[in-house]
């Protein structure tokens, strides 16, 4: 089953706020409003014809200038009004696969930077546990209903979320100096900022 058929199924059976996105990149994806994520994913897992029994990957990325065409899902605006506007958000991606039906689908959603909250899907797939912990650790997304939401890669007292675009790496951590040496500084290319 390809993504479009799955999209039609969701739309027919669930009446969810979803949108289909095909324009960008080689893999089409289904766009779901963040408060519908758990319901849509539950449907995808439990429907017999779909039976997505694996969560291959889940992650997110920080979009500083997202000119999304789906604003009408969030706000009560028409499609044309959003043109030209940009929006800062954390985009979340779920990659699902089914060993029984041998098909895959990409589910996308996004949350605003100020209020990064989405439902946890640990109850559906155990593999979501660590993947969500990693997204929480590096991107600062809070998963509601996650049993054990702690930092996984970084130490518990780390400040900030490194994979956000506005993250500035600290100059010291527990009195360990992190400033580059004179030699390193002299090698930094001019006019190239990191």
């Amino acid at each position: 089953m390809n993504t479009l058929e799955i999209f039609e199924l969701i739309k027919k059976n669930l009446d969810a706020v979803v949108s289909f996105q095909e324009e960008e990149g080689p893999t089409p994806s289904i766009y779901v409003r963040s408060d519908w994520v758990l319901r849509v994913l539950t449907y995808l897992k439990e429907d017999e014809a779909l039976s997505f029994n694996v969560l291959m990957n889940h992650t997110g990325f920080h979009e500083t200038e997202s000119a999304k065409l789906f604003w009408h899902l969030f706000f009560d605006v028409s499609h044309d009004e959003t043109e030209g506007h940009t929006h800062e958000e954390i985009r979340l991606v779920w990659h699902l696969y089914s060993y029984d039906q041998e098909h895959r689908v990409t589910i996308e959603s996004s949350v605003p930077v100020g209020k990064c909250e989405v439902d946890s899907v640990v109850s559906l797939w155990k593999s979501a546990d660590w993947l969500e912990r990693e997204a929480y650790d590096l991107l600062g997304v809070t998963y509601l209903g996650h049993p054990d939401l702690r930092r996984i890669m970084l130490p518990p007292d780390w400040e900030g979320f490194p994979l956000r675009k506005d993250y500035v790496s600290p100059t010291s951590y527990h009195n360990v100096d992190n400033t580059p040496s004179e030699i390193t500084k002299s090698f930094e290319p001019k006019g190239k900022s990191k």
Partner: protein, 214 residues
Amino acid sequence: MMGAYFQNIKNGFTTVFEGMSITFATMFVRKETVQYPEVDITSNKTIAEKYKGSLMGMPDNYRGVLILENGLCTACQICQRTCPIDCIAIENAKCDKTKPTDKDGKPVLNRFTQKEAIKTRALTRFDINIAKCMFCGLCEAACPTGAIHHTKQFEMNRECQEDLVLRFVSDGEKEIAVKRAEEIEAEAEAKKAAKAEKEKEAKEKEEQEKGAEE
């Protein structure tokens, strides 16, 4: 139940027997250890003949310490931009337009365009920080004239980090290059001034002519 009990004992003895025969056999086959600093691994003939064949020593494309052949470099800075970890630093200044030549005096071709390479800028600084280099070979692949390339040298421990910065342009060369650049600048300046003078003169002449006409 009882069968499994005796099967376990039997399997235990037979598999240990087989395993012991293998370890015992290994005692009498060739030892793989090469006692490195004493055995010259790059040229030892006995190793080659015994078991390495053409794999003996360093292969031709071995990625050791980087080296720059100043004569070939056109100061194009492609290697600096390619390097993922910024371990190459290049500064340059204007120079006379020349064509770099290799050892035999033949002009060097640009590897990508197959045209003769042209040098318009001279190096005033070419440093490689070997302490940071990860020997990925991207700079070597990107260099159009083959000036920067890896050597087979791999022993590179030094006393301090400063010694690991390889400088390929000496202060003397830098001074000459800077001086020459200033000269060129001055010449260009002079040319420009002369040209301006000429134009001015021409203008004045014109005006004078104009005035005379009036």
